[in-house]
């Protein structure tokens, strides 16, 4: 997974854009990142079992101090907790690229 890093202030941001939201510079380099992060906040979206059942929606904060919406895989939705250590990775949902998370060490 790569994230844009500002060549002027050195900070990362997400989502990608043409101007740094921290210092307003316009020059970036793409950096490979580990995906290490933690669950910043989380919710269980309730859905009837016959329509697929409950699922997780979370905000993950990566160690590069950027946050994004995501979904944690491999943990039952009610068991997802704020502060949980996770690895974010490039996956897909219904064939569309998406950032997903799994528990660190899981």
């Amino acid at each position: 997974m790569v994230l844009p890093k500002c060549n002027a202030c050195g900070r990362f941001h997400f989502f990608p854009r043409v101007v740094c939201p921290h210092c307003y510079a316009t020059s970036f380099t793409s950096h490979e990142v580990s995906g290490k992060g933690e669950i910043h906040t989380t919710t269980v979206v309730r859905r009837p079992p016959d329509r697929g059942g409950d699922y997780n929606v979370c905000i993950v904060e990566l160690e590069e101090r950027v946050r994004m919406m995501s979904r944690i895989e491999g943990v039952a939705p009610p068991d997802v907790e704020i502060g949980m250590a996770v690895i974010a990775y490039a996956g897909e949902i219904d064939g569309t690229p998406a950032v997903l998370c799994r528990p660190e060490g899981g």
Binding site: T41, T42, T43, V45, R46, V57, C58, I59, M68, I93
Partner: protein, 383 residues
């Protein structure tokens, strides 16, 4: 708003229409009925309106649609879309336009038929591009994410959130205009269907039809109308994000800044405010805004709302009409905070009237805790 605009404009009419269910009416029908009611309240005619401030959920050019529908040719049109805060936000530009002589009679107006039209939130906006794929339920999941973080950081409880809904219902039970007036207990809220943890369906605002409108003029002619004028003492805005994932701090809204600037412009502080009207799309909103506007410290909002503190007979009257949780919520509630604040100051509130209200706060929220706008309104005594 700069101090030099303090008291320069006044609200001289309010109106509403289509509360609850208004089958057979379009959103623009309800908008027009609300506008006509506000003009009648001020004993003005549509032909007097030369400043139109309007946005609706269904179109990209709603202000033009509204002007066409009403058959008017406004010389000042404003339709900035900041979600449910839009109508509080218009107060600043309306005051500027009036003070500059760009128009003489402002109509701020809104209508929606979302309940009888579709039964759910209507929106013309595109899904947030970096969020939609995860299928959060909008807008509730966004507020659930904020509520979960608030609970994590400060120990706020579901019971405390439930007390916000219970207080709103208690106010609504005295308001014949309110849509939901049945009994509601903390246990009812906790046992209600969970939609997006930690928020149940009873932590959510209503889905109703409804429209609202206010009429504003320059203060020097505000006494020429039948109702006591309500003066704009301060109005300020700040926005932080559009997509909830981009909110800088999930427990702090831009109401901290909008509130501080509105209070500074008005020259008053939270302890001076007699009634507080907050955009309570979800129970967490009330907690966040009471903190961020300075009625209590950050993190103490949960304890603050416990035990009927903001209910009838409590220490601070909050959402005295029943709010979006129990009175009316047609999609963008902001206009109704201004209408209720105005009526409380005038002394003609539809439900419980608080005695001797001189200062009221109306706070609008837009997007997903994205846009915050605070207005401080006052009686003649506060000029």
């Amino acid at each position: 708003m700069e101090n030099k605009l303090r008291g320069k404009s006044a609200i001289v009419g309010t109106g509403h229409a289509g509360f609850g269910e208004a089958p057979g009416l379009t959103a623009y029908d309800i908008m027009a009925e609300a506008g006509l009611a506000a003009l009648a309240d001020a004993q003005l005619k549509l032909s007097d309106v030369d400043g139109l401030f309007c946005t609706m959920m269904e179109d990209s050019m709603p202000a033009l649609m509204a002007a066409e529908y009403l058959g008017i040719r406004p010389r000042f049109v404003e339709g900035t879309m900041t979600g449910g805060s839009s109508f509080v936000n218009y107060i600043t530009a309306a005051t500027m336009a009036l003070a500059a002589g760009l128009c003489d009679v402002v109509l701020i107006v809104y209508g929606s038929n979302q309940r009888s039209g579709s039964g759910k939130l209507v929106t013309a906006s595109r899904p947030p591009p970096y969020e939609q794929i995860y299928r959060p339920r909008y807008p509730i999941s966004a507020y659930a994410l904020a509520a979960a973080r608030h609970m994590h950081e400060f120990g706020t409880t579901r019971e405390q959130l439930a007390d916000v809904a219970v207080a709103a219902r208690a106010w609504a039970q005295h308001n014949p205009e309110a849509f939901e007036r049945g009994d509601l207990t903390r246990e009812d809220v906790l046992a209600a269907r969970m939609v997006s943890d930690p928020l149940t369906v009873r932590d959510c605002c209503l889905v109703t039809d409804g429209g609202g409108a206010i009429v504003m003029v320059r203060s020097e002619r505000a006494r020429d109308f039948p109702k006591p004028p309500v003066y704009v003492l301060g109005c300020a805005a700040e926005s932080t994000h559009r997509q909830i994932s981009q909110m800088p701090d999930f427990t702090v809204t831009a109401a901290r800044e909008s509130g501080a600037r509105a209070f500074a412009a008005a020259g008053v502080s939270p302890s001076d405010i007699d009634v507080v009207e907050l955009y309570d799309a979800f129970t967490i909103n009330t907690v966040l805004f009471l903190e961020d506007l300075g009625f209590c410290e950050k993190g103490e909002g949960g304890a603050f709302v416990e035990g009927g503190r903001i209910a009838p007979g409590g220490g601070l009257p909050v959402n005295t009409n029943g709010g979006g949780l129990s009175c009316v919520h047609p999609g963008m509630y902001g206009i109704f905070t201004v209408i209720e604040a105005t009526r409380q100051i005038r002394g003609d509130a539809p439900g419980l009237q608080i005695a001797n209200v001189d200062l009221a706060l109306a706070h609008g929220n837009g997007g997903t805790l994205s846009s915050q706008v605070t207005a401080i309104l006052g009686s003649e005594n506060t000029l």
